[in-house]
Symmetry: C2
Subunit: 283 residues, 2 copies
């Protein structure tokens, strides 16, 4: 029987702190304000927006929404970003991606000033993660893994961590963040030979493979901590992760459920980054 | 009896290609030109400069030296860099570091345009390495490890590589470059538990610990490839590496000697990057 690493518990603890910090900011004359930039009307973006608005309201922060039509020019989104960069009343920006194909993702991402780049999408933000510099913000999903690990007091220093996945959104940044925390990190991927064996030997396993149920019992060993980043809805809308939870739960020491694990923490991390950006503004 | 992975052999093969490419460039009206920016008169910088000048002459490229007094202002070095960024007849720049303490290393590094950043020191260059984008140039020492591995036809795809060291000059960038080549990479450091065991299990071991003789027989297993990045002169001036060569050589499959291994390749990689930068100019 594994300990369940519950996202909502982590979120609740984070929120309590964010409510307090937001109140302090307002007392200091700073109203933490996030801008969300969306192109088009993609359903999942709108649903994410709704969730973020609710969470911002809950802690007392503000959101401004910038919506561009699907045929907006690249110049027009760049103009929006440049205005937000220059606007001292906006502390952080989230840009929904993927962008429509007529926009150059790298140009748009890198137009965002790293001090306002709440989801760590610009090259500058990524270079900070790579360099272990805390000037910018790491991608929220990567940070969410660390928040869960820290909330539950899971040690990292000198311990073996295996990461499955090497994306710029989770695998690579979380590997660098774990390395900065003195873990010994093995980065695995589709070409890794003996993947189950490598995973079994890890004290902590971060699964960001993006493939439903890829981790079965053969990957797992007693006492391990398993962080499952996958979010896969099936035909009926039921959500599962990269890990076969029913096989993992009897074996490992601790595991994030899906849903109710990493995914539940990611948006709160976004708002944590917003509050942090606003606090830098206060000083 | 291990195969010796000889730096000078790798360098000779690279040089042959570079001589040819430089001739092509000149035929196309482009004269590959590197600028070296040095502050003060540190002996090892001057000696490195001499070596680079000789190698540039050998392949037919040009070097311009910019030397500032030790008490030069940060503004003055930034002015030099900005001129070099803007000068279309200069294809690449090397800045000697560490800079004197009154200069802000990050500001100076990041002033250099990534297209001319031959040793991958700017945040933009590092973000490219992290992202697996070949727009910029990786740090020369990290690339030198890959050049040796490729010259000797050592496979990486799906193989286990252990890297000792997590610096921005070698450990982290070489890890990302190996990952891009589909190796399974474990990044180790001073806090790694069971370091010898992890190293023994690797097919390829990259040692960039910066500590003379830290790798003894207990870290090694038959058939391994060992790349030793360490360069440590003893009191008498004799140079040795991070690996105890006499213990390693009878055990492993292949190993870089020190001297005559990675160190011998690094300057040639610098010039390779110069020629590459000039070739981009040609297109």
């Amino acid at each position: 029987m594994a300990t369940l690493l519950k996202g909502p518990e982590v979120t609740a603890a984070l929120n309590a702190k964010l409510v307090k910090q937001t109140a302090e900011l307002k007392a200091g004359g700073v109203y933490p304000t996030m801008a969300m930039v969306r192109v088009g009307e993609r359903e999942e973006d709108i649903s994410y927006e709704r969730g973020a608005v609710k969470r911002c309201q809950h802690i007392g922060a503000a959101i401004r929404q910038y919506v561009l039509p699907l045929d907006a020019t690249q110049e027009s989104i760049l103009a929006v970003i440049q205005n937000l960069n220059a606007d001292p009343t906006v502390h952080g920006v989230l840009i929904f991606r993927p962008l429509p194909p007529h926009m150059d993702d790298a140009v748009v991402r890198n137009a965002l000033h790293p001090s306002k780049d709440l989801d760590g999408i610009s090259n500058a933000s990524l270079s900070y993660v790579f360099s272990g510099i805390s000037t910018g913000f790491p991608p929220c999903t990567a940070q969410a893994c660390l928040e869960i690990i820290d909330y539950y007091g899971i040690g990292l220093k000198g311990r073996k961590v295996a990461v499955i996945g090497r994306s710029l959104v989770v695998g690579k940044p979380v590997s660098m963040m774990l390395l900065d925390r003195d873990a010994t990190v093995t980065i695995c991927h589709r070409n890794t030979a003996n993947l189950p064996e490598i995973c079994r030997a890890a004290d902590v396993l971060i699964v960001a493979a993006g493939q439903a149920g890829i981790v079965d019992q053969s990957f797992l060993s007693p006492g391990q901590t398993v962080i499952d980043v996958g979010i896969h809805p099936d035909a009926s809308g039921k959500i599962s992760g990269d890990v076969l939870f029913d096989q993992a739960e009897p074996v490992v020491g601790a595991i994030t459920p899906v849903p109710g694990g990493v995914g539940a923490v990611t948006t709160t991390v976004l708002i944590k980054h917003l509050v942090e950006a606003a606090r830098r503004n206060l000083k």
